[in-house]
């Protein structure tokens, strides 16, 4: 499949702060490509450079063969963008917003049908200021798709949505991909990346740490295990971290989560037993994308 987006050695700093240090990746036609990373990793700056909203300090970007900074009129016709936090005037109604924006494009999609697909028809006369978070999000997806784009960049698509609205949005995005639109999805939700993305670029501190399928990334944690339990008494993490079988120990409230290789469970339980610590509600899972994230960035994602 041909590449629709090529980013090469992208670098961008704000004053002394380096937001994007060195990012290189390629997005293939028809895939959902995830950009995953902790807050402040440089995800948004990276996609803003792709959208042509920011000028890179150095590096090359090509989107559908266009230069995002110099070919803006053509790029905006072909690239759909959903920004992390952008608004419409409060008094602008849903149907008016769609009708207005469809006038901007050379090949506008039928906004009536789009409004219907996104479940906004019953809200067509509702002003933007009176929409719920989920409805605003759906409207912004509709606006991103109005120009019948070949590529859509969606930034923090489901942040602030309740779980049901989030699942509905995921279904919608899969539907959009099914009609051949390539999607770049910025997220810090593991579940979202695992569910939607064909490939994921894991970005940390302005650099690409790994690019792989979600399963491939999870597999890099050496077919590991994740052990969760509630200890009967508090204990020093060093007790577990010094074990060769254990890669990470983190706390979530009073629950301890230990990540390690296939022998981790044996090692952990014997150490606990030796120290007279009882592991309540013990649970063992195979490593997931989240563990890969943790292992590769050393940071914990925001999702719980």
């Amino acid at each position: 499949m041909p590449a629709v987006i090529e980013v090469q050695n992208l670098r961008r700093s704000y004053g002394d702060t380096v937001a994007v240090d060195d990012v290189t990746f390629t997005v293939q036609e028809g895939e959902i490509f995830g950009i995953l990373g902790p807050n402040g990793a440089g995800k948004t700056t990276t996609v803003e450079c792709i959208e042509g909203l920011r000028a890179p300090d150095s590096g090359q970007i090509s989107v559908l063969g266009l230069d995002p900074r110099h070919d803006r009129p053509e790029l905006t016709q072909r690239l759909g963008v959903q920004l992390q936090d952008s608004q419409l005037p409060d008094q602008l109604r849903v149907a008016e917003a769609l009708r207005l924006n469809s006038a901007f494009y050379r090949n506008p999609a039928d906004w009536h049908a789009l409004m219907d697909t996104l479940g906004l028809t019953s809200k067509s006369k509702t002003p933007f200021g009176k929409l719920s978070g989920g409805q605003k999000q759906r409207l912004s997806i509709a606006l991103a798709l109005l120009g019948s784009p070949r590529v859509a960049v969606l930034d923090e698509l489901t942040t602030g949505l309740d779980p049901q609205a989030r699942r509905d949005t995921w279904e919608l995005i899969e539907g959009v991909r099914d009609r051949g639109v390539t999607i770049v999805l910025v997220t810090h939700f593991m579940e979202e990346a695992e569910r939607l993305c064909d490939r994921v670029a894991l970005i940390d501190a302005g650099r690409v740490v790994a690019i792989d399928t979600p399963a491939g990334l999870a597999g890099r944690v050496e077919a590991g295990q994740r052990i969760q339990f509630r200890p009967s008494v508090p204990f020093d993490d060093a007790l577990l971290t010094h074990l060769p079988e254990v890669t990470h120990v983190i706390h979530r409230g009073d629950v301890v989560v230990v990540t390690g290789n296939d022998n981790a469970l044996n090692a952990v339980t014997s150490v606990l037993a030796r120290n007279q610590i009882v592991a309540h509600q013990l649970r063992v899972d195979q490593a997931s994308l989240e563990d890969a994230f943790l292992a590769l960035t050393g940071k914990h994602s925001d999702s719980q």
């Binding site: 009129p73 608004q87 419409l88 602008l92 008016e96 901007f104 697909t117 099914d178």
Partner: protein, 259 residues
Amino acid sequence: MSVAIAPLPAAERGSALGRLALTELKLFARERLRIVFGVGLPLLLVIIIGCIPFFNQPRAAYGGATFLDVYVPIMVGFSAALLSLTALPMMLAGYRERGVLRRLQTTPIGPSRVLAAQLLANLAVVAGTSIAIVLLARFGFGVAFPRQLAGFVIAALLAAVALMCVGLFIAAVVPGSRAAQATGALLFYPLMFFAGLWLPIANMPATLQHISHATPLGAAVQALTDSAQGHWPTWLQLVTMAAYAVAFGLAAARWFRWE
């Protein structure tokens, strides 16, 4: 779930600029506060001045005209200035703060058409208000229609465009809606002074009159007053306004910022 979206039928496609200007006009009409200040205030002033008999007597100082006769052109300039220098910059800067412009930046619309749409929408409001002022003065208080009507219309349009370009320039270069509002207000009062709001231009000392002719609003009120009395506006007045429009309009487009 597959999302198959057909293209929009050609009959439903409109011009981006026209659609954006129309939408901005609608949004203006939905903002009650803006209607009260931008449209209601000038009309209210005409009514107040018209209802005070003292202001309705012919005066030798105004060449036999009444105080109200002199004030109708000033009110037309006043309504254009009020909208251009306070409402317009505040709204555009507000759009920028809230990310409305940032979203527009991702579409093919471009800064010139965003600014032009604002200009058109506000021009429509000023035109409506000016017509209402002239009609109210004529039928409420017996002020004659402008005797050189074509000159009056051209002067009013040019004045509105010049002031709006100044307003768009403020919106373009001043960060934040509060700062934009303050800058607009700071410009509004001296400009209104030179337009003769407090002291009719004809009664100003020579130096102030010269300064007044060089300000966009002073030139506007002079041109409007001349046309109201039956004279064609002078070229100097029209060129002064056009120069402000071109200079500030180009500067606004040049330094326009989306965020």
